[in-house]
């Protein structure tokens, strides 16, 4: 089950560990460039089995690139590393990526087989609040509905590693909370390793064991979240974490009013993050 | 009763620009060609002969040469009004008439000793035993209805005393190298092949047992024909008359200058080897341009009768196909020129 993303070279045989004991993800010195621009610059990342890691980062900082590399979809990544990928790995893409020519239910059960598949798919759709839409075409769904179908698809296969790229981005607050609950229950039941990309710092703190910030092509900041669930955003530890992370993202006083670089003064732009 | 030939009544209207005054078909042929008269002529061999003999610029009218010959192409071009004179064998004028075109033959050429200088021979597939026409019984014979080779097959069967049902007629178009290939592939037992294809077939498949036999019939007619509407235009009629003269001289020139003809036409123009050219000249013998068309008309009538019977067509009178005013034109031209 140990396999590699992109052009990863494998560590010496001696370093390798039995599949179950080792980390779910362990990549080192990942490098990925597009033309001249280096997006991942000797990035190291390890995720333990069952660990829930949230990944923050500026727009264009390379989060999706990293996820694609871990999912083994990028053929031009270099580095050394070992990705212990359990049989079941699920990816939620940033675009919902539903096959437009398959109905919603078939999109959810894509790649599954055996009896009861349709039933499981139906159940999963009900969990994301889309009971009754099984036979719709993807383009008949609203943006948030499509996102939920993609979520249902990734959860129905009870993954052991979940790579999710902003899976809640187009959801309203209540639906988002429901989906958090869904994800949490899945984590409790199957203990998958999770790498969740999000832009919502509160969401990251509420869900993750560890929050990473991707800056300049590397994991720049790592914050362990030790608050016991249910984590209350009004908890001062929560607030402290929040403002720490926001500071790393360039915002000094938490909240929407940026006290960071004045937005009128041209400052270090997001695109400069990854030179 | 679906045959179309009974619609003979329609008058040709799209002949190339008949003048205001129509020339009756029994009127004296005008001799002087008015200035500016143009003919479109599909007679590539004569064109080449005129070119080689240096006569081509002397034609007393303007000419547009078309590389068109043979039945289907000339009739198609006639209908479209794109051609004034076509060069064909015996069958096309018959079929043209059956399709409602009004045509007349204005020149006729035959071969001296036609039985021994046939255009076609019967190709026999390797491994098939046909020594004489009598052996054709029960054989698969390639047959292209509407083409000269098709008519020949019917005439051969008639001569052999066979009915169509005594053999298997396999309908194949006789274009290109279809017949030699069909023989070589043993898809048919017998197929009429002509010209250089005979030589080619024998040299390629002779060692496998491919043979040819003569059919013993006359297949030598060569005609120039035109549409009635064209003949009714006095200017064009005069031009056609002039062309027939040049045509006749060209045939004689070809006969007299075999080497020039081989080099200039077969080798340079048609891309054959010199040997092929020599063979063609030898097998085609010498031209015979008679002043009297009566025997030819009689033979044509037989052909018409046979075709009409076998292909379910109305009868035609052969004499109606010939414009006998032109019969002396060619012979006079050679007489004046020859000595």
């Amino acid at each position: 089950m140990a396999t590699y993303a992109g052009r990863l070279t494998e560590p010496a045989a001696a370093e390798r560990q039995p599949a179950n004991a080792g980390p779910a993800v362990d990549v080192r010195s990942l490098v990925r460039s597009f033309d001249e621009r280096t997006v991942l610059d000797h990035l190291d990342l390890a995720i333990e089995p069952g660990e829930f890691v949230a990944l923050l980062g500026r727009s264009g900082s390379g989060k999706s690139t990293l996820l694609r590399a871990l999912a083994g979809l990028d053929h031009d990544v270099e580095g050394t590393g070992l990705v212990e990928v359990p049989r079941n790995v699920s990816v939620v893409f940033q675009d919902s990526r539903l096959l437009p020519w398959q109905r919603v239910l078939d999109n959810v059960t894509l790649g599954l087989s055996g009896p009861g598949t349709a039933g499981k798919g139906r159940e999963s759709l009900a969990e994301v609040g889309l009971a009754g839409r099984e036979q719709a075409w993807p383009n008949q769904l609203s943006g948030g509905e499509q996102q939920r179908v993609a979520l249902a698809r990734s959860l129905v296969r009870e993954p052991e590693l979940l790579l999710a790229d902003e899976p809640f981005g187009s959801l309203d607050a209540l639906t988002r909370i429901r989906m958090h609950g869904l994800l949490r229950r899945l984590c409790e039941r199957h203990r998958p390793a999770v790498l969740l990309v999000t832009h919502d710092v509160d969401e990251a703190i509420a869900l993750a064991d560890r929050v990473l910030v991707l800056t300049d092509g590397r994991v720049d900041t790592e914050v362990e979240v030790t608050i016991d669930p249910p984590r209350d955003p009004s908890d001062p530890r929560f607030a402290e974490l929040r403002s720490r992370l926001l500071a790393h993202l360039g915002i000094v006083n938490g909240g929407l009013q940026a006290a960071g670089p004045d937005s009128d003064v041209p400052s270090r732009r997001p695109e400069e993050v990854s030179r | 009763g679906l045959s179309k030939a009974d619609s003979n009544g329609t008058d040709g209207t799209n002949g190339s620009g008949a003048g205001d005054r129509k020339l009756a078909l029994d009127a004296q042929l005008p001799i002087t060609v008015p200035k500016g008269t143009t003919l479109t002529i599909g007679d590539p061999a004569t064109q080449k002969a005129l070119e080689l003999s240096g006569q081509i610029d002397k034609l007393p009218f303007k000419v547009k040469w078309a590389n068109i010959s043979g039945g289907p192409q000339t009739t198609e071009a006639f209908r479209a009004g794109a051609l004034d004179i076509g060069s064909v064998a015996d069958i096309p004028p018959i079929h043209a008439t059956w399709t409602g075109l009004h045509v007349r033959i204005v020149a006729a050429k035959f071969r001296v000793d036609p039985i021994h200088h046939p255009i076609y021979q019967l190709g026999i597939a390797p491994g098939v035993k046909v020594r004489s026409l009598a052996d054709l019984r029960g054989k698969k014979i390639a047959y292209s209805p509407g083409q000269a080779q098709g008519a020949l097959v019917l005439r051969v069967l008639q001569k052999a005393g066979l009915k169509k049902s005594d053999v298997t007629l396999v309908e194949l178009p006789s274009t290109g190298d279809v017949y030699p290939n069909a023989l070589a592939g043993k898809q048919v037992d017998v197929a009429p092949i002509g010209g250089v294809a005979i030589k080619r077939y024998l040299s390629k498949y002779g060692k496998d047992g491919g043979t040819t036999i003569p059919h013993g019939l006359r297949d030598d007619p060569g005609h120039l024909y035109t549409q009635v509407a064209t003949l009714e235009d006095p200017a064009k009629a005069a031009a056609i008359r002039a062309y027939v003269q040049y045509w006749a001289r060209a045939q004689i020139w070809m006969d007299k200058h075999p080497q020039q003809w081989i080099d200039g036409y077969y080798v340079k123009d048609q891309g054959l080897s010199e040997e092929d050219g020599r063979w063609l000249v030898k097998t085609s013998g010498h031209p015979d341009i008679p002043a009297d068309w009566k025997p030819a008309i009689a033979r044509q009538q037989q052909t018409i009768d046979l075709l009409a019977r076998e292909t379910d067509k109305p009868k035609l009178t052969a004499a109606d196909l010939f414009d006998q005013r032109f019969a002396p034109v060619a012979t006079d031209a050679i007489k004046n020129e020859a000595p």
Binding site: R68, A71, G72, L73, V89, S90, V91, F93, D95, R97, L99, P100, W101, Q102, D106, L110, G111, S113, W137, P138, N139, R153, R157 | L2, S3, K4, T10, T13, N14, P72, T75, R79, A80, H95, A96, W98, T99, G100, L101, S144, P145, G146, Q147, V170, E171, L172, P173, G176, D177, V178, N181, A182, G185, Q187, V188, T311, K313
Partner: protein, 289 residues
Amino acid sequence: MTTTTTATATATTASPVRVPPRTVTTAPVRRARRLGPGRPVRFGSAVGPLLLLGLWSAGSATGLIDPRILSAPWTVVTTTIDLVNDGRLPANLAVSAQRAFLGLAIGIGVGTLLALASGLNRLGEALIDGPIQIKRAIPSLALLPLLILWFGIGETMKVVTITLGVLVPVYIHTHNGLRTIDSRYVELAQTVGLGRWAFVRKVVLPGALPGFLLGLRFAVVGAWLALVVVEQINATSGIGYMMELARTYGQTDIIVVGLVVYGILGLASDGAVRLVQRKALTWRRTLAD
């Protein structure tokens, strides 16, 4: 950019609200200039052919069209009736249809399989694609002698020739269609662990379906057209044979009947594929909607 005129008044409908959507017929006054072609016009596709028929009738009636070149429509109708009554047209059509369908069925199957083999595998592509392009570039008339050599002059040769003709558009369109499937869907298929066959079934075939169906539009018409060539050889029946015979005998009216039959067969086959297209591709939202 957009128009700056103020709105022209339309009738006020006090409360059109409870009317079910489909029954309101007030034409909408719309802001955005409509750039697409709008909704299909009912029977719109009949306009062109009918116009053509009209021109033809007018030309024949006024004598502008020489009946020896193109028979008048009414002549064609009576000739058709004659041909139907004496059984020639139906019999020829039946024989031809059998050949066409057989060739079509085999050609579609083989073409699709080759497209899959070549589209999903570089080795397959290296082996298959070039020869098919060559086959396509070589005039079928020139290929015929070889086909006759290999398959004789019987039905086999005829069906093979049709098959080869059908195969080309099916192959090229399907190959092109599947090659242009968005790579995002391929990535998705990989991450959900689709097997080869499931990948073909769930992603490749439906993704290449629009291309395949376009190829089919060429294939169905091509199958009928191939008859003209194959039925010149050792055929004593078939619509192509009927036409060829009529051509050599210059029976213009029968030729034109043949042409009309071809036109109708072509329009009908093409229309059938378009119908399938519309049904099978409901998931698309395109300019045409």
